[in-house]
Symmetry: C2
Subunit: 234 residues, 2 copies
DNA sequence: CAGTGGTCTAGACCACTAT
DNA sequence: TAGTGGTCTAGACCACTGG
């Protein structure tokens, strides 16, 4: 593990275990430098990382402060899959609706940047959070990279398996969001009425080398899906 | 303007004017260092900034590549207000529904971290994009910081005025998202039916020193509001 | 103006990719 | 194993905040 990541983690743990409140001041740079026995650049890099995650904010000429204003019942839009799995605090279960190997449609081929005769894994699941139907997910994996999946894996976290089991490294992702009304089919799975609202999130995940390996279309329950995103102005 | 920002801008312009495609390789670090007559750290910092904006991605051991997979009809969720105004490509107009100075409700006071007897500007607008009703925005500004607003300002970009006119510096922001059904009142303003879907986005904007100065609640038209977000795994 | 965070440099060394 | 990106250092200097 890299030094700046270790430091970032330690600072995050410190904030957590000491239950620091929003706006509380952290030690100054000089002190952090000696405490972690490292250079200024490395501390700043650790703090930048924490700032990006919405954990601290830095004010030039003043200090470094704790930022923790999350609402407990909202989940991070971006940590949704793949990245840091904060979802562990919830009990996630999945009902498999469909699972097979097939050829991509035109749209999927385009998103995954493959030709129409290449194989993809297709997984369609209803995902529950603490027993409530949370979303319907249709997910397509480029089989050239995600070489193997089985029922047990897709019952749990596919992304954990991809990273730990297959050793693939996830680099970045695109999210596209829009709304629509539920179809009758979706409504029964989500325990809602036809034409009730839904949020559609299309996700495209890339490996570190820029190859898109997964495309997903997720339809969220309009009462249970609540997201937050943090943003920083630089 | 800082050196790394200047370099980031120049690289971005280069990609734009040369219409580089997704996946095309940029010059290697050594070349960029000599070209911009600067150190490695500064180039990396410029590239990190571009990476965060979803403009390039870096692959260790391989190179720096262009990332441009945006869908034209989606707008950035985060650049929505305040930050880089990509919205200039659209023709945005506003109908003012309400505009006054008032005392905050409990909820607003809590979000803006003020007491119930402090003054706030209240602005309620229907915003149109290229003539289509796009959202209904209820916005609350802490008058201790946003000291002045008038009809002309709120007809246009309030955030431009806050930054350029009042000289306030925006630091970061929180977004909270959920869905619901339109009320009859909202439906008429958005030219939709009662109970049609809507996306509710609550935004909280902070100055660089961590003071929250604006809280907004925005209700989006379910057919016209389409957003994208980019994410990077570090 | 003292204190504090941010930028920038030159260079050593490390880690990954592609061949 | 050559090429390329990433981390880390020590230190100079800059920019902002707040009393």
């Amino acid at each position: 593990m890299l030094k700046y990541q270790t430091i970032a983690n330690e600072i995050e743990n410190y904030i957590e275990t000491h239950q620091l409140q929003h706006g509380e001041k952290l030690p100054v740079l000089d002190q952090l430098m000696t405490q972690f026995n490292t250079s200024k650049t490395t501390i700043i890099k650790a703090l930048d990382s924490l700032e990006k995650q919405g954990i601290v904010f830095q004010v030039r000429g003043s200090g470094i402060f704790v930022r923790r204003k999350k609402r407990a019942d909202y989940i991070s839009l971006l940590s949704n899959q793949g990245f840091k799995q904060e979802l562990e605090q919830f009990n996630i279960t999945s009902d498999i609706i469909e699972f097979n190997i097939q050829k991509p449609t035109h749209k999927i081929a385009q998103n995954l940047h493959i030709s129409l005769d290449q194989d993809i894994y297709y997984v369609k699941r209803v995902r529950h959070m603490d027993g409530k139907p949370f979303c319907i997910e249709s997910s397509y994996y480029n089989k050239a990279y995600v070489t193997y999946l089985n029922n047990e894996i897709i019952q749990n976290s596919i992304f954990s398996y991809i990273q730990e089991g297959l050793g693939l490294k996830i680099g970045f992702s695109d999210f596209y969001m829009q709304m629509d009304k539920l179809t009758a089919f979706e409504a029964t799975h989500l325990h809602l009425q036809e034409n009730d609202p839904k949020l559609i999130v299309e996700q495209l995940f890339y490996l570190t080398n820029g190859v898109p390996f997964n495309y997903s279309e997720i339809h969220y329950h309009y009462q249970y899906a609540k997201f937050y995103v943090f943003s920083t102005n630089h």
